[in-house]
Symmetry: C2
Subunit: 434 residues, 2 copies
Amino acid sequence: MRTVDLIQRKRDGEELAPEEIDYLLDGYTNGEVPDYQMSAFLMAVYFSGMSDREVSRFTDCMLRSGESVDLSSVSGIKVDKHSTGGVGDKTSLIVAPLAASAGVLVPMMSGRALGHTGGTLDKLESIPGFHTSLSPDDVRRLLGEVGMCFLGQSDRLAPADGKLYALRDVTATVESIPLISSSIMSKKLAEGLDALVLDVKVGSGAFMKKQVDARRLAQMMVGIGRRMDKRVQALITDMSQPLGYAVGNALEVMEASQTLQNAGPSDLTKLSIELAARMIHLSKKTASLDDARRLAEEKLVDGSGYRKFKQVVAAQGGNPQALDKFELLPNATGMREVTSPRGGYVTLIDAEDIGVASNMIGAGRDRKEDTIDPAVGIILEVKVGEKVDAGSVLCRLYYTREDRVEEAADLVEDAFRISAQKPEERELILEVVG
Amino acid sequence: MRTVDLIQRKRDGEELAPEEIDYLLDGYTNGEVPDYQMSAFLMAVYFSGMSDREVSRFTDCMLRSGESVDLSSVSGIKVDKHSTGGVGDKTSLIVAPLAASAGVLVPMMSGRALGHTGGTLDKLESIPGFHTSLSPDDVRRLLGEVGMCFLGQSDRLAPADGKLYALRDVTATVESIPLISSSIMSKKLAEGLDALVLDVKVGSGAFMKKQVDARRLAQMMVGIGRRMDKRVQALITDMSQPLGYAVGNALEVMEASQTLQNAGPSDLTKLSIELAARMIHLSKKTASLDDARRLAEEKLVDGSGYRKFKQVVAAQGGNPQALDKFELLPNATGMREVTSPRGGYVTLIDAEDIGVASNMIGAGRDRKEDTIDPAVGIILEVKVGEKVDAGSVLCRLYYTREDRVEEAADLVEDAFRISAQKPEERELILEVVG
């Protein structure tokens, strides 16, 4: 077997056999296949795609390249949720406690902010004392004691994915549906799950700008899971405007906390209930999906989810009081309002622009090595479809350093489109796959 | 400027600016752009192509990466011919002396056999004593004294192309029309030419299997030349069957010698006259192309071309007597006939199969480091369109080692298709570009 022949066959749109995928990926992991051949292969995949069979084997290779978290000693069905990333998407903080309070075991593996999208780990770390570096023993103990935990991704899980991602990042091969699918699924499947709910975002604030691409990504990930005997469902949800009102780490923790007290934005509440319900249903806690929705709502309304959130925060070293007393969270020192230049309806709030502006004032990372300011961010005052007057506040920027505030404010102003005509209502949950 | 952004823009089908091409190629040559980014870029070019402007700049970068042969001190118009490679294509050995005997200055830069196609340098080196490693001073002296020379490609000409080609070879990015065009033209333009005639082969024995691809390659190379103020013309010629009857190094020298004595195969003679005529016309030796054709024919018939060939062989250290007395050339020790299984018309002689079979018995190279047996090869007894009886000889294999003769004979037998119906006649010269 020669690597160049495998590259050529992929280039020419052929399907590679399982042992050929193994040869490439195992060879890459152990250094026998050099970077320059792998990058040509990745670009060929970008153009020629991969079959379901290929992408499953590819995922399996990456999974096999490292350790798995062995959760077999914890009895019960383990379910996680994964979002492909958006702006203001703090559902993980809400959904995991809701599902856990309904009896689902939730080892929630989360990531960090990158580009214009936020990261659950960064949000949680704005809670004083909270830490996410858990050993496998910690995970098993927390699942037993609390029924859930938030864990960071270990370098020992799917290291081939880490190596491959670094190469994709510098060779313009990130935006490939099979490569994204296998990257996500190899990490998720390494954490010993029985089922997984995926939230595939689509719109300006998401990696997938078109619904047809989001659907292909969802289908591919659901297919990978199925071939590995995992129950996987995907929602395709709108990310054309930010989810909820808050964007920024501590600000999102506050909003998540309010939402768990049934005082959150309606879009965020609705999506969180639906995601939690899917997790509850996949873990067979209820006979029907409708029952699962009712159970999730009940756990929100009766405060069980909120109590579970406080419990896990305490169990992972954080101060649970900060979830009531927001002055215990990092707070910004400055505030800048952005007002509407005219009266009319809000027809667009470009989520990507809001995410980029939020990064400018320090809430995110452009590069992996950037540090985050947990206090800063943006709070929207209106959402798409609402009516505003000329001069009324569209949103507020909370900052601690002034240097890029005006630039960010300009970008935020551009992100809003105000028109005379009321826009058509857009569905939040667009499709279900699997 | 970031390399990854340039890769992405090429991937997305955008045109890169001249300074962006420079950044990539110059960076690659001096080691700042690593192999793994260049190979991803090359694969993106494979899929997205390059504009004429891009490919010209790309060629120019490769040209600038090394030395050029300075022929300005040699007065007169310098013209070369280049073939994209075929089976039995010994036209260089005929065309260069014909054009030189008509007064054209011909610094003929030639290559080595690779894959199933032969190489002019290997053919010439089957003549005892002949050498092709010439210094720039040698080239200038030979052009002055003989009017022509055969030179090997120096590593100092377009070294970026050498580095790039080695990378393309292991990353399945060889078969890209802009990359082939720029590779050929960077080397050709480094030898101080005024004009160039290209013979773009199409058919089973050529790199280009389809005429539409051959046309795009021809157009691209002609365009590159024009933008550098060189007169360039391309013929697109048939390579579905071998050219002439002989395939193999010394065997092809013998056939070239016969052809220069006006006793060669009609297809080889016809194409050689046409190529020489184009060179004569581009160098403005005649008022019309028809005049140039008549002049080339005259030089063939009166023996001037043949004498010029002997003269250059002697000037480059070879024994010119070997061109009359073939026993002075390397001769094979064994012969194996391949006969027709049935009577009928020869409708196909797959040139690639013949080339591969010839390699099997030692006439070519599968890898660069393989050594060549100059004596061995294949002589066809018939060509497409001829009638054969059952049991009549289709061709003869000449060998010195027996180990792969039967395997080669089987392949050769498969290469011939014998049918009841006479095939339609196929044109040898299919198109002229430029």
